[in-house]
């Protein structure tokens, strides 16, 4: 295969053919630069790892590559397989041989393996599907990926690991040249993960090039030929694993190495007694009841303290918080919740609220607000009794309460009767917080309180958190942004795969320490068990 004519990347020898060259990719969304000057060069037949923090731009980059963001919606060039490509959509990039397997699998659980593999790609004549051929080819593909299941088995009956293999078989059915896997092992156990990584090496032996997006540096060390690190929407470094002995420390430093600006209000915490405590909390997955998702988590929060929970997406942070808050997630929940050292009943949201616990969701649209209703409706919903007498809401009390919170949280709107759908993300978030505060909690669980909002609104929310802590409330903050956790928290728990793998006081916490705890979690789990 001849290399692209204008191949001139300086850090690779020119004689190595490169399958993919992305140059100077820049992608903006209204008000945000998601990608800026991203270069990615993938050689034919290699496994290329792309790493970076949440929000570094990995997924956006892959969406640009696969045509989800079509040509014209970004700047820069994509050369693939010897030609300049301008993909207009996923179908277009798939025709060229680029296949993405997303974190959330795109299989239809009610259909069989064979039906799934040929969905949208049916072997048909005159619109009639040739099922004999489809099953024969499926059998062959399953053998290739090492999955021993009948081709007629329903995908919904398979475990996540096997479903992953079906996805890969589906990709192979389409004559794939470049296979992109987005966090393929995030929801797999160790055995399945190892099997999957072995499969990637086998596929590489058959000449299939692979981009692996992963947070797990130990996995990358096992299979990757090269590693590209993204940070804040730009390529910061590329490593060649064959040329140099790559230490995880170097990758971590490249991932997080940014100066922390003065983006947080100064804090002078006055930390008191333990106000909130969770002991040995265990939760099973709501759909797969046999799968323990939260595995014996214990934590505490003191008066006036802001405690963070760090972790990657899928670590179980939101699930933990929601299961504590009125058992809003999961099944077969066990463990104790204590407020002021006394056990409290949090089996329903109403009881959790009554116990003094409030939860602000990470998903404003899905779980936070009734979008069509106004600020006043949404900011009082958690405590309607406070504005009513014998079941009848007092219009005046409601207006006064909503106006008071609008002023206190500085919600920018034309009044309290403006519908939430017309507010900006930051102001919507403030309404979610107003609704939580209106329940008069002593402990607030804030789940990604600054996700998707601009810097100014972030600062306002940090200030509010500090103010609440000074009023002796306890705050438990879940965030995927490490700088934010480091800037605000007095103590940080690190969560990985349903467990706390580290607890870092403010003076010991650093991005490196947190990332190290996460990427080493596989090994440290055994230590934790003995400790």
């Amino acid at each position: 295969m001849p290399g692209p004519a204008r191949h001139d990347s300086f850090w690779y020898p020119k004689n190595m053919p490169s399958l993919l060259e992305m140059r100077g990719i820049r992608k903006t969304f209204p008000g945000v630069v998601a990608l800026d000057r991203v270069d990615l060069s993938v050689k034919a037949g290699e496994i290329h790892a792309v790493v970076g923090e949440n929000g570094a731009g990995k997924s956006t980059l892959m969406k640009v590559l696969s045509g989800v963001y079509p040509h014209g919606s970004y700047e820069g060039e994509i050369h693939f397989d010897g030609a300049l490509r301008q993909f207009s959509g996923i179908a277009d990039s798939e025709r060229a041989g680029i296949i993405i397997i997303h974190q959330e699998l795109a299989l239809v659980p009610q259909l069989s393996i064979a039906e799934n593999i040929f969905l949208g790609n049916e072997t048909a004549q005159h619109g009639i599907i040739d099922w004999y051929q489809a099953h024969a080819r499926t059998q062959e593909l399953l053998r290739k990926v090492g999955l021993r299941e009948p081709t007629t088995a329903l995908v919904g009956d398979l475990g996540v690991g096997k479903q992953q293999l079906v996805e890969i078989a589906k990709a192979l059915a389409k004559e794939v040249k470049l296979l992109i896997l987005d966090e393929p092992t995030a929801s797999l156990n160790e055995t399945d993960s190892d099997a999957l990584l072995q499969l990637l090496l086998d596929l590489k032996g058959h000449g299939i090039t692979c981009i692996l997006i992963s947070h797990k540096l130990n996995e990358i060390g096992k299979v990757a030929d090269r590693v590209t690190v993204l940070r804040d929407g730009s390529t910061v470094q590329s490593f060649d694993c064959a040329a140099e002995k790559l230490s995880e420390d170097r990758i971590i430093r490249a991932m997080v190495g940014r100066a922390m600006a003065d983006r947080y209000p100064p804090r002078h915490p006055q930390i008191g007694e333990v106000i909130f405590e969770v002991r040995d909390w265990r939760v099973h997955h709501p759909e797969h009841a046999e799968r323990e998702f939260i595995k014996g988590v214990s934590l505490n929060v003191r008066r006036g303290e802001i405690v963070g929970i760090a972790g990657l997406m899928g670590a179980g942070r939101t699930e933990f918080a929601m299961s504590v808050f009125g058992r809003s997630w999961g099944r077969r929940i066990s463990g104790q919740v204590l407020m002021d050292r006394r056990e409290v009943d949090t089996r329903s949201v109403a009881k959790a609220l009554a116990a003094g616990i409030a939860y602000a969701t990470e998903d404003r649209k899905g779980y936070g607000l009734v979008m069509g209703e106004d600020i006043s409706f949404n900011s009082t919903l958690s405590n309607l009794r406070a504005i009513s007498k014998s079941g009848v809401i007092s219009e005046g009390d409601e207006f006064r309460a909503a106006s008071e919170y609008r002023r206190r949280l500085n919600i920018r709107s034309a009044g309290v009767h403006q519908a939430c759908v017309n507010l900006s993300g930051g102001n919507q978030q403030k309404v979610v917080l107003a609704n939580c505060l209106f329940a008069q909690p002593r402990l607030l669980i804030l789940d990604e309180p600054t996700r998707g909002i601009d810097v100014g609104a972030k600062y306002e929310i940090y200030t509010l958190m500090d103010e609440l802590a000074r009023q002796d409330k306890g705050i438990l903050m879940i965030s995927s942004e490490l700088p934010e956790l480091l800037g605000m928290c007095d103590r940080i728990y690190v969560m990985s795969e349903g467990r706390f793998v580290a607890q870092l006081p403010r003076n010991e916490a650093s991005q490196e320490a947190i990332m190290r705890a996460i990427v080493n979690s596989g090994e440290s789990l055994t230590e934790a068990a003995h400790a």
């Binding site: 979008m371 069509g372 009794r385 207006f399």
Partner: protein, 405 residues
């Protein structure tokens, strides 16, 4: 509508209340949907008044119109709550017929006194609603399927109860529930004074309540509609009720059913707008997840909406049976469609969370006036259905169009 783009801009100061004529314009645009409905109803009434050469507003016909639509209006109140909660109930027509049959069997075949029989029927309605509501709320079977099943079950049960026959007549007191009129305290003269007085008192009460509501809002510094607009609107409402009572008083007076209906409308309007349970139903239909995370027991509330629907369907069944003075196997056939159409014409959203009691009532009367007017004109039952279907589609189209604009 405020300009959403301007509102979204961070840091823009709260918009000052615009003064003068632009406030009027703002106000009309804000409330176009609400008053648009009412204006449509009035336009349709005027249209048929003209087409039928004055028959529509004749006291006799007006009385009939009310009696004919009372059971639809009563059920629309319950259906509105079910739809706002994000569900649907297809079984109300069958339940209505089944309760009528049950009443006939109890009162006619078994000679029960009308009061315990009526109470038993209402209790049965609640039980039916509870059963269907439980299936929707807890095992989470889609309400469309649960109530489709209920529709068949109760249609079948009413046939079984009546053994295919009509049963009647009912005791006199029971019949009065539906076809009686408010007792005249001052007999003599062509005008039913008592009825007129009740009507005028109701009109005055409405005026006073509006004034007090506005004063309260002003006291709390809330935004209110322009004074002239408010005054005009209230006067028109008061005048309409007064005129209406006068017309009815010049025939046989206020029908008992109108009193029942009016009381129910006032109660449900109040419950949906001003009480905690009403507020929670809107939250439930608007965003079930957000409602749950705000401490609302969504399952229990869903079941409650269906129990309420069952009770109102039972009440409507009693009214309908009393009006015919017999229970027939065909009673209630197709009522569910009129009731659901009334809610959607009245601006309820099929996805839940949106809808008003007043809208559903107006929707029911739009359907009712069209039924009545077209019957007077001699339009066949075939084209009546075509026209009603098109009106439903047009009303919902206008809604969707306004929302996407």
């Amino acid at each position: 509508m405020h300009d959403p783009i301007a509102d979204m801009k961070q840091g823009s100061a709260p918009a000052p209340a615009p003064a003068g004529s632009s406030r009027w314009g703002d106000f009309v645009r804000h409330n176009l949907r609400e008053y648009g409905m009412l204006i449509s109803l009035l336009a349709i009434m005027v249209l048929f008044q003209w087409l039928t050469e004055g028959t529509l507003f004749q006291p006799l016909n007006l009385t009939n119109l009310l009696l004919q639509n009372s059971y639809i209006v009563i059920m629309a109140l319950g259906m509105l709550l079910v739809i706002v909660a994000g569900h649907i109930d297809l079984s109300v027509g069958s339940v209505c017929g089944f309760i009528g049959a049950l009443a006939a069997v109890l009162m006619v075949s078994y000679d029960w006194h009308w009061l315990p029989a009526t109470l038993a029927c209402v209790a049965m309605g609640a039980a039916i609603g509870a059963a269907q509501g439980w299936l929707v709320a807890y095992p989470k079977i889609p309400s469309f399927i649960v109530t489709l099943g209920g529709m068949l079950v109760f249609r079948g049960l009413s046939l079984a109860l009546l053994q295919g026959q009509s049963i009647g007549p009912f005791p006199d007191q029971f019949e009065h529930l539906s076809s009686g009129f408010v007792t005249e305290l001052m007999p003599g003269g062509s005008l039913r004074i008592t009825s007129l007085v009740i009507g005028l008192i109701a009109a005055a009460a409405l005026g006073v309540a509006s004034l007090r509501g506005r004063a309260g809002r002003l006291r709390h510094g809330m935004e209110v509609e322009p004074y002239a607009f408010f005054l005009g609107k209230t006067l028109i409402f008061v005048a309409c009720i007064g005129l209406f009572s006068y017309l009815l008083a010049s025939y046989k007076g206020l029908p008992n059913v109108l009193i029942v209906m009016a009381v129910l409308i006032v109660i449900y309007d109040f419950v949906t707008r001003r009480t905690i349970v009403g507020r929670r139903i809107y939250a439930l239909g608007g965003n079930k997840n957000a409602a749950r995370l705000s401490g609302i027991k969504t399952e229990r509330l869903t079941m409650l909406a269906f129990i309420n629907m069952g009770v109102l369907a039972a009440l409507a069944g009693l009214v309908f049976a009393a009006r015919l003075n017999t229970a027939t196997p065909k009673a209630g056939l197709g009522f569910e469609l009129d009731v659901i159409a009334a809610c959607f014409i009245g601006g309820a959203s099929a996805t839940g969370g949106i809808g008003k009691v007043t809208g559903a009532v107006i929707g029911a009367f739009i359907m009712g006036v069209m039924n009545n007017g077209m019957s007077i004109l001699g339009v066949g039952i075939d084209y009546q259905q075509v026209i009603k279907g098109l009106v439903l589609l047009a009303a919902v189209y206008v809604d969707v169009y306004n929302k996407n604009k």
